[in-house]
Amino acid sequence: MTTHHTDTSAHTAPATPAHHSPTVRGPLPLGADPHTSRRNGRVLVGAGALLAFVSTMLPWTWTAEFPGDLTIALYPAGLQLLTLVAAVLTAALLLASAGVRGLRWLTPGGKHSALLLMALASLAVTWYTAGAIAVELGGLVNLEPGMWIGAAGTLLAVIGALALPADLAPETGDDAREPAPWARLTHALKAPSPGRPAPLPDWAEILVICASCALGLYVFAYGIEADGGPPFIGFLMLSAFAFPALHRTGLPRRLTALTAKHRGVTLAATFAAALLFPITQSNEAYTNIAVSVLIFATVALGLNMVVGLAGILDLGYVAFLGVGAYTAALVSGAETSSLGIHVPFWAAVLIGAAVALVFGLVIGFPSLRLHGDYLAIVTLGFGEIFRISVQNLDGDSGPNITNGPNGIPNIPDLELFGFNLGEPHTLLGFELGRFANYYLLMLLFTAIVVTIFRRSDNSRIGRAWIAIREDETAARAMGVNAFRLKLMAFALGATLAGMAGTVLAHVEFSVNPESYKFVHTAPPNSAFLLIAVILGGMGTVSGPLIGAALLYLIPAKLQFMADYQLLLFGIALVLLMRFRPEGLIADRRKQLEFHETGQLDVPDATAQTTPGLPGIGKTEA
């Protein structure tokens, strides 16, 4: 592609001495000396990306029976779009890593590692599509030439990317021995962290944040709209490779630094993007999923306050959601409600939150005297006690309050300010259906919980919570009344879950004891809530939101593998704990905990670069 090999990276990333070593070769060199290998590799990646791009313009199969209709020339659709995106991104990363002007900003951190992962992403999506077509339609004969071109192109790109030198110099220094191929491959996937960015004007930074939010909204909307089955799996595969690739480029870390600088703008932009979501949706089914995701995510965020900040492992958290939902159901005028009263929604929310608060205090007061595993078991017990009590308060084995296993059906829709949330409304020319209405209502509650989380985290109380999580004895010796603060966290978490429960009862029309188990195949349940927190990242705001979205979307989209769902989650969690123990989104503290930044080795240099590292210098700049 290019014969000009002056190292331009030195200008943009002074912290990465990697590219200077000419002896670094890729895991699969093509050519005797590194320069030829690099040139050949670039040519191959370029050709491969081009082929993949061209192939998406051709039909991949002959019949529209395969989901997404991949039969039309010059009209990429469904899975072809994913390959198209991957091919374009591969080409962009290739040009950026070759130092083409105007694209260098794409790769402030890793270059070839990101490129390799991106090529792998296109390979995964394309070959998966070929496999899925062959399996669904019965045989390779169903593949059109376009499909073969795509498969060959993506393979070429991967081979080429493997020939490119690694981003980092070999760790062993001048070791004469060549490391094993596997070691070279894992080494090729490592990327340096980006250097300090060139300062942008404020408006540009804010624009970048807004664009990122819009992109996030688009990706989420695409995922939620993708048909279950092959298109969604393809989307997952692309994400699974493309996000790590993106991470290698160092752009997310730059973005984190920007969002840390403009917190208010970030929050507003994210909120606006979430607000715009129902407008992008035409189908009620998707907004239904979205509102469930939102409720689940909000409850997970509440649990994160208990688990992630105060370090109280609560395995019965879903019970508080149930308390809120049942309370709302009882006071909202459902026909089968044993109370038979109908209070306005705001009162129902307050009552639900208050009842959950009382439950939190009643359960927390005795059980928070315990620690660690014992506390976890006791909360698990209380969670089940709630469900079984609700099941038994049916008039036979106890007073009839909850209608027992039948639950309380037919909860009427909400009416707020004269709007009936159960009916579609037209807003600014966009039609908002029932679930879109509830989505917007729930978004308000999510915003409240996010605000509460952020404000309490970054305060005297939040610091005391984290101190208790870290070392309770030391915290008490520093004057922290540990029991009182733990009870506060527990009760606050319960209140927020109860509040979310009041909305849940209305969205789902009915409440039912079976929804509030410890473990169940579908969210929300205590185990899934905890997984969402751990998967997303403990102690963060965005972590549980993303974790909950994934945990809700994946089972909802992949119905056909419902039997293996829990097994797959188990495997995914084990892998995550092995490779990214801090969760998908790293707390700024956890980020430092699990991935040593070499603070011990070069304290002075780190002290200087601290404001540049994302998230660490929180009050600087």
Partner: protein, 335 residues
């Protein structure tokens, strides 16, 4: 290395009794049949630095835990400035006693600044509600806390590490941070549990300067330590705890020449052995200077405390006693 000028000579004389910062009387701690601390009385007066020494397992840390409310003493009371302290450690801290731990107990995954801010917990009162509302009062309190914490970090020399995780600090700085965190609660009495354990000679000197500076600011200090040179150079008074009981208490001079203290650390001589032979041996060894220094070092490593007493003597009598003896071995780990 050793500067004999900073011994007891220029320490201020103990102030008048009666206005004690800490007054522990008859503190007894039993664990089942084991009496870890037996009827210990100890007073610390304002502006004093008091040392607490004793062989391993003498009950020093247990006594500390009784003082700070981590343990509830079986008998006896602890009072701070005339008020009897409750047996809850956060209330003890609130009253004005702060402590460090023998095995460092920082909040490892919080930043240096946050660690110190947690120490400010009892001196600030912004609750959850004010944190959620974020009124001007909250902002002012946060800013004030941060200023105060930064002051302490500068005082301990950690200001440029404010955003590092506590766990990533080198050992010596973790000790300093623990002291800074304890000071953040604005204590009238600071309890230090082996502040120089595992430190190099340079770090130990720095710690001594730090403790003296803390005293200058009006905080009394009670310190447990195994490093005799450190203790005798620093403290106004030293108490010796042996098998849970207070053996001797007095100025460093009195304590380091007390036969019972030496006996507690080294054991009593054999019966019937007049000790002449030993004394002659010691004299002979002192004559061969280089060898003596080396032997002394080895003995010290084996025998603990008395070595330091000898060293102090040697330092004051002969300037030639060179300080390239092995750094203080971290013997007191499992107290």
């Amino acid at each position: 290395m050793t500067t004999p000028t900073t011994t007891a000579a220029d320490n201020p004389a103990p102030r008048e009794a009666g206005s004690a910062v800490l007054d522990a009387s008859g503190v007894t701690m039993r664990f089942g049949g084991l009496t870890a601390v037996r009827d210990v009385n100890l007073t610390v007066r304002p502006g004093e630095i008091v040392g607490l020494i004793g062989p391993n397992g003498a009950g020093k840390t247990t006594f500390f835990n009784c003082l700070t409310g981590l343990y509830i003493p079986t008998e006896g009371t602890v009072s701070y400035k005339g008020t009897v302290l409750p047996h809850r450690s956060h209330l003890v801290t609130q009253a004005g006693i702060a402590r460090t731990f023998q095995n460092i107990r920082l909040f490892a995954n919080m930043t240096v600044l946050e660690n110190v801010l947690v120490g400010r917990h009892t001196r600030t009162h912004e609750g959850l509600f004010s944190a959620l509302v974020r009124g001007p009062g909250f902002r002012r309190a946060e800013r004030h806390s941060e200023d105060r914490a930064m002051e302490l970090l500068r005082f301990t020399g950690l200001a440029d590490k404010r955003d590092h995780l506590a766990r990533n600090l080198p050992y010596g700085e973790q000790r300093k941070l623990e002291i800074a965190r304890a000071l953040a609660s604005e204590p009238g009495l600071l309890l230090l549990d082996e502040p120089t354990a595992g430190m190099t000679a340079v770090e130990t000197t720095a710690t001594r300067e730090l403790v003296l500076a803390i005293r200058e600011q009006g905080t009394a200090v009670l310190v447990i330590e195994h490093d005799m040179r450190f203790i005798f150079n620093l403290c106004d008074r030293v108490a010796v705890l042996v098998q849970g009981q207070k053996l001797v208490e007095g100025t460093p001079d009195i304590v380091q020449n007390d036969d019972r203290v030496i006996a507690a650390y080294l054991g009593t001589p054999f019966e019937g052995e007049p000790g002449e032979a030993e004394a002659a041996e010691v004299r002979a060894a002192e004559e061969a200077e280089a060898r003596a220094a080396e032997e002394g070092g080895i003995r010290a490593a084996e025998e603990g405390g008395i070595r330091a007493a000898e060293e102090t003597e040697a330092a004051t009598t002969s300037q030639s006693a060179q300080a390239d003896q092995p750094a203080d071995a971290p013997e007191g780990k499992a107290d």
